[in-house]
Symmetry: C2
Subunit: 375 residues, 2 copies
């Protein structure tokens, strides 16, 4: 088993492919696809920016390879292309928003931006937003906050795939948490991880490749541990981070529940088992207790606590100390969360983003449907 | 292996003992011991209140059984009994504080109270505090916020016991996170858990009882997985929540690092491997990069986001839905984090707090040293 990059939900890359595109080309194509599905130009640009940030960072599962899934939700009328994201309630440092059933790639940036504005005015900013949809990679929102010398904190609910500790069945999303801290000379430290033992993408990979899941990461429909991905699809579930009682799975359950309540109960979105499916071909119970999916954005300006330069120097020291620690046998030693993705981003801006033949074919097919040339 | 209560770092209780004391008796004794070590009356009362809240909730490892450890730190002059907790920097919704090397049981409540006040004024409140010491159970601070209809969020660093993912050696604390959400008819949901696979208390238990650790929870001094608690004590370390690469230990590493940065780098406390030891008999490298230990307190009033009654009703629904989920084989089914501790608290207020003969003996011995009668 290959260790995933710390700070990344997935480790899949397509560097071996011979097709390379500049981020500008991919962003432009994605924006045109979003416009063809009815998004206003500004929203289409924002959504394309968030989407292709995943490609830059090497999180290929969450980039343009997924564009057709967002497109499908839009053309099926399940997502509102002309969303009017509104504030329902606010204080100097907080807001609750309604995403008007818009693309998460549009609602997320709007809520994050409001949290950043609140933070500039009141010293910190917290925005809980419901009636949203899948918002891409969580880490990108944290990085936006970081551009303003803020610590950016993001959580989101997702469709149910995870069993509660000591329970059977899919009741919680893989509910990721992201947070980013700036360095001075060092790249930022960016954590971005699901609160289940493995991500949903890892399960999909196993089904696609015919491989087994790692021990202790999933259960079947009866609640027995299984490594068979088909048993998971067939009424089983992923398990919370920690895997089992002895290793602390009640903690992963606590984390997933925390994300669920802060993202959904606080915003009035569908919590736990009631979260709507994404992509469109996932099963849908049709049962709802609120509106759409929910996210939480938190922004803490560093200057609210100490001099940003001092903080960044201390972060450099932190990162060097941990990177310099002795390596566990058979590993390359401790990594700093987010640095692998940072280096991918630098390299891909320069050399272009590699896409597999399958992904290119998919984008061409999507281009034909949307009336936008991809070549 | 017995499953620990969700939301609790430890599951140890002493219900079988025949010695029972009212919480008032224990609180009064603890307050007098703190006063005898030089604390002003108000601080002594606060510290005793936080300490005995752990006994009420059934977290016996963190209650009066530990009083002698705090006392030792005070009489050795390692903790300042007359701490003047100060604000170093503030905004309408945030503050950074200096704990003046006071007892964490005094510094923690002061910082938490300031976060609650900020939240009342600005819609949310965040306080990072350094130059502090061990502050007891994290969950109790979240419960204080909850009394004002706020979601209370708490993190703290702790002495290094945990290896970074892919690393060897003790570089991070078990760094707990706590958060609490109120119900309407249901007891509050209170998460309170360490970000390592097992708690430090679990390691101490294994050493005391001669038992083995669960598989996948610790490494020896060479970084090899071990179940021998003595190999852990002898230069080994606990591992982050997730246990290994396949099960997501990089995520537990991210969580522990997040707590470390928010509690210590933000407040100017000693981060990671530089955190000072507690109790006094733990080894101390003597290397420092800041002042004392650090904590972070976050307070989000529910009314900043939605009507508290609406939120609490939704929480009741959430808790009933999860408690009603089918049970995994061999378990009693999903529990709601913090409910076990809530029921302990109700029962122990009524029936008294059971203490083992060993703990009673220890308190009598402490009483003799402090000049305070315990009977």
């Amino acid at each position: 088993v290959t260790a995933p990059a710390p700070g990344s939900g997935t480790g899949a890359t397509a560097e071996a492919s011979t097709h390379r595109y500049s981020v500008g080309e991919l962003r432009d194509f994605a924006a045109r696809v979003f416009r063809s599905a009815g998004l206003p130009e500004g929203h289409a640009d924002t959504a394309a920016e968030v989407l292709t940030a995943a490609d830059l960072r090497g999180i290929d599962t969450h980039g343009v390879a997924r564009l057709h899934q967002y497109y499908e939700m839009l053309v099926q009328g399940r997502v509102n292309p002309r969303a009017d994201v509104r504030i329902l309630r606010e204080t100097p440092s907080t807001a609750r928003m309604d995403g008007d059933n818009g693309l998460g790639l549009v609602v997320g940036p709007a809520a994050n931006e409001l949290a950043i504005e609140k933070a500039a005015a009141a010293g910190s900013g917290w925005v809980s937003v419901g009636n949203s949809n899948h918002f891409g990679i969580a880490g990108i929102y944290s990085l936006r906050a970081l551009e303003r010398d803020c610590i950016g904190w993001v959580m989101t609910s997702s469709p149910p795939q995870v069993a509660p500790f000591q329970g059977v069945g899919r009741m919680l999303g893989t509910n990721p948490i992201a947070i980013a801290f700036p360095g001075r000379a060092e790249p930022p430290m960016v954590m971005d991880f699901t609160t289940s033992a493995i991500s949903f993408g890892r399960l999909e990979d196993a089904i696609r490749t015919g491989g087994a899941l790692p021990e202790g990461t999933a259960i079947d429909r009866e609640g027995r541990m299984t490594t068979d991905p088909h048993a998971v699809k067939d009424g089983g579930a992923l398990v919370p981070l920690g895997s089992d009682a002895a290793r602390g799975a009640h903690k992963g359950y606590c984390l997933a529940a925390m994300v669920d309540v802060l993202s959904c109960v606080l915003s009035g979105a569908n919590w736990g088992p009631f979260a709507p499916p994404f992509p469109a071909d996932l099963p849908d119970s049709g049962r709802r207790v609120g509106k759409g999916l929910g996210h939480l954005f938190g922004v803490l300006p560093i200057a609210s606590f100490r001099e940003p330069d001092e903080f960044k120097e201390a972060m450099d020291h932190w990162m060097r100390e941990f990177r310099g620690a002795p390596a566990a046998p058979g590993t390359g030693g401790p990594e700093i969360p987010g640095h692998r993705e940072h280096h991918s981003s630098v390299r891909r801006r320069r050399e272009g983003i590699p896409l597999s033949g399958t992904v290119v074919e998919g984008l061409r097919h999507l281009g034909v449907r949307a009336g936008v040339l991809f070549d």
